[in-house]
C-alpha cells in the first residue's frame, strides 16, 4: 500500500501552481474566449476525404481508446461521427461502428452516441448505420475484420445476427469498405499494419485520429500512403469543427489549451530566471569567500 498523500503535504508553491492552473483552464471552459483556430492542411485533407463519400459508400469507424484520454480523443471522434451521420442522412453513406478495446466501445461509442443523438435519430438503424460494440482481440480482431467481416462481426450490440442486418449484405472483406476512421491514443501502427489502402484495392483511404504526441509516429506511414490522413487530438477536433461549421467540445477546449500552454511557458521562464539569478548569486558569494 502506497504512502498517503494529502493536498496539505504538497509545498505551498505547488499548491499555488495547481490553483492558478485550475483557474486558467476553468475560465475559458465556462466563458469561451473565442481565439481563432487556424485549420492545418492535415485536418483539411481528412475532412475532404470524409466529404468525398458518396451514396452507398461504406465508412468504418473503429475506436481503440482508453477512458484516461477521453477529453483528447472524444472531441475529434464526436466531430467525425457528426460528419459521418450527416453524410449518411444527406447522401446515403453507410456507417459501421465498433471498438477494439472494451473502453473504446463502451465510452467512445455509447457516450459519443448520446451526444450525437440528433444526428443519428432520423437514420434507420441496420440500414444506414450499425453498431457492433466491442470486438475482442485488438489487432487480431482487426486482422479478422479485414479478411472476414461477417465472421468477425457476428452479432451487433442488440444481439442481432449480421445476416439479418440489411446494410451488411455484400460486405465480405475490407475491400468492400470505402473509408476508415480509426481512433487510437497510443497504438496507431496497428492501422497501417492491418488496414492499409495499399493492400486492399477497394479501400480508398484511412484516417487516423490520434494524440498529438503520436503524430510523429504515424508520419512515416502518412508519407508512404499506408495512412491517408490524420486528425490530431483536441486541436484537430477544433479544426474539424470549424470545417463542419458547427463548434463543439474541441473548439471549447482550445481556449483552455491556449491559456494552459501560455501558463506552462510562463512557469518555464520563471523557473529559469530564478535558477540563473540563484546561480549568479551563489557564484558571486563563492568568489567573495
Amino acid at each position: 500500500m502506497g504512502e498517503r498523500v494529502a493536498l496539505g503535504t504538497f509545498p505551498l508553491t505547488d499548491r499555488l501552481v495547481f490553483l492558478v492552473f485550475i483557474i486558467l483552464v476553468a475560465i475559458p471552459i465556462l466563458s469561451p474566449i473565442g481565439l481563432p483556430i487556424p485549420v492545418t492542411d492535415a485536418t483539411k485533407k481528412s475532412f475532404k476525404l470524409m466529404d468525398s463519400l458518396k451514396s452507398g459508400d461504406i465508412l468504418v469507424m473503429c475506436f481503440e481508446q482508453d477512458m484516461g484520454t477521453f477529453y483528447s480523443g472524444a472531441p475529434p471522434d464526436e466531430a467525425g461521427l457528426r460528419h459521418a451521420f450527416t453524410l449518411a442522412k444527406q447522401r446515403g453513406v453507410k456507417v459501421i461502428l465498433f471498438g477494439t478495446s472494451s473502453a473504446g466501445c463502451k465510452v467512445y461509442i455509447d457516450a459519443i452516441l448520446m451526444d450525437t443523438k440528433p444526428y443519428w435519430e432520423p437514420l434507420r438503424y441496420g440500414e444506414d448505420w450499425v453498431n457492433f460494440g466491442w470486438l475482442p482481440g485488438f489487432e487480431t480482431a482487426m486482422a479478422g475484420f479485414a479478411r472476414d467481416v461477417q465472421g468477425t462481426c457476428k452479432v451487433d450490440v442488440y444481439g442481432k445476427r449480421v445476416e439479418e442486418i440489411p446494410m451488411m449484405r455484400g460486405i465480405k472483406t475490407l475491400s468492400d469498405v470505402t473509408g476508415i476512421w480509426y481512433s487510437t491514443n497510443t497504438n496507431p501502427d496497428m492501422l497501417p499494419r492491418q488496414w492499409s489502402p495499399l493492400e486492399y484495392k477497394g479501400l480508398k483511404w484511412t484516417i487516423c485520429q490520434t494524440l498529438f504526441a503520436s503524430v510523429p509516429w504515424i508520419m512515416p506511414y502518412v508519407d508512404k500512403g499506408s495512412i491517408t490522413g490524420y486528425v490530431a487530438d483536441q486541436r484537430g477536433a477544433g479544426e474539424y469543427e470549424m470545417l463542419l461549421g458547427k463548434l463543439g467540445m474541441g473548439a471549447t477546449f482550445m481556449d483552455a489549451q491556449s491559456l494552459g500552454h501560455l501558463y506552462g511557458i510562463a512557469l518555464i521562464v520563471m523557473a529559469n530566471v530564478h535558477y540563473l539569478y540563484t546561480r549568479s548569486k551563489t557564484s558571486k558569494s563563492k568568489e567573495e569567500k
Binding site: A141, G144, G260, G264, I268, A271
Partner: protein, 221 residues
C-alpha cells in the same frame, strides 16, 4: 502420455507452424481460408484469456482474504465490485438475451459516472505534476537542455491556437520540428523495433525465447 504433452517442443512447434503459415499467406495469399480460420481461433483464445485473468484475480484475492493479509478488506471491495459490475452487465442483456433495462442502466451508470471519471481523474494528475515540473525541473543547466526548452516552447505554441495568433511563424516552425526532426527519429525507432521483432520471432522459433511459455528465456536465467 502426460509427460509427452508437457514437452516444451509442442507449443514451440505450434507457434512455428502457425506463424510461418500466416506469414506465408500474408506474402503469397496462398491459404486465405486457413489464415482466416486461424485468426478466428486467436480471437476465441483472446476471449478465454479474460476468463483466465478473472480466475487468477479471484484466486489471489480470495487467498488474501482467507489469510487476513494486510489490507485484506480492499480485496473484499474488489471482489464485490467485480461481481456487481459483471452481474449488472449480464442481467442488462447479452447476445440474444434482451435483459432487464434497470440492470443495464445501473451498469451504464457505474461505467459512465464512476469508472470513467476515476480513470480520467487519475490521468489528469499527470497534467498537474507536469506543471510543477515546469516550475521545479525546467532549468537550463546546459546547451542541450536549452535547445530542448526552446523546441518545447515552440511546439507548445504550435499546438495551441494562441501561438499562431501571436506569430504565424510558430505554425510552420513547429510543423517542421514535428514532421522532419521527430518523424526522422521515429522512423529510426520503428526500423529498430521491426528488426528486434524479427529477432525475437527467430529466437522463439529456435526455442531460445520462452517467455510465452511461462519460462525464463535462455540467457536470462
Amino acid at each position: 502420455m502426460a509427460l509427452v504433452l508437457k514437452r516444451r517442443e509442442i507449443p514451440i512447434a505450434i507457434f512455428a507452424v502457425v506463424s510461418l503459415l500466416l506469414l506465408a499467406d500474408y506474402f503469397t495469399g496462398a491459404w486465405p481460408d486457413v489464415a482466416k480460420e486461424t485468426i478466428g481461433w486467436a480471437i476465441i483464445l483472446w476471449m478465454f484469456s479474460y476468463v483466465l485473468g478473472v480466475t487468477s484475480l479471484f484466486r489471489y484475492h480470495l487467498t488474501r482474504i482467507q489469510k487476513r493479509s494486510q489490507y485484506w478488506a480492499y480485496s473484499v471491495v474488489l471482489i464485490v465490485c467485480v461481481f456487481v459490475y459483471l452481474l449488472s452487465g449480464l442481467l442488462g442483456g447479452v447476445g440474444g438475451f434482451s435483459g432487464i433495462p434497470a440492470s443495464k442502466a445501473f451498469n451504464d451508470f457505474l461505467w459512465l459516472n464512476v469508472l470513467a471519471p476515476l480513470q480520467t481523474g487519475i490521468l489528469s494528475y499527470v497534467g498537474f505534476y507536469m506543471y510543477t515540473i515546469f516550475f521545479r525541473g525546467a532549468r537550463t543547466r546546459s546547451w542541450d537542455v536549452g535547445i530542448m526548452m526552446i523546441v518545447t516552447i515552440i511546439l507548445m505554441l504550435n499546438v495551441a491556437p494562441v501561438g499562431m495568433a501571436l506569430w504565424e511563424g510558430f505554425g510552420p516552425l513547429g510543423d517542421w520540428f514535428k514532421d522532419v526532426i521527430n518523424t526522422g527519429s521515429y522512423r529510426g525507432i520503428m526500423i529498430g523495433v521491426g528488426v528486434g521483432l524479427i529477432a525475437v520471432w527467430v529466437r522463439a522459433m529456435l526455442g531460445y525465447e520462452r517467455a510465452f511459455l511461462g519460462e525464463l528465456s535462455r540467457g536470462a536465467e
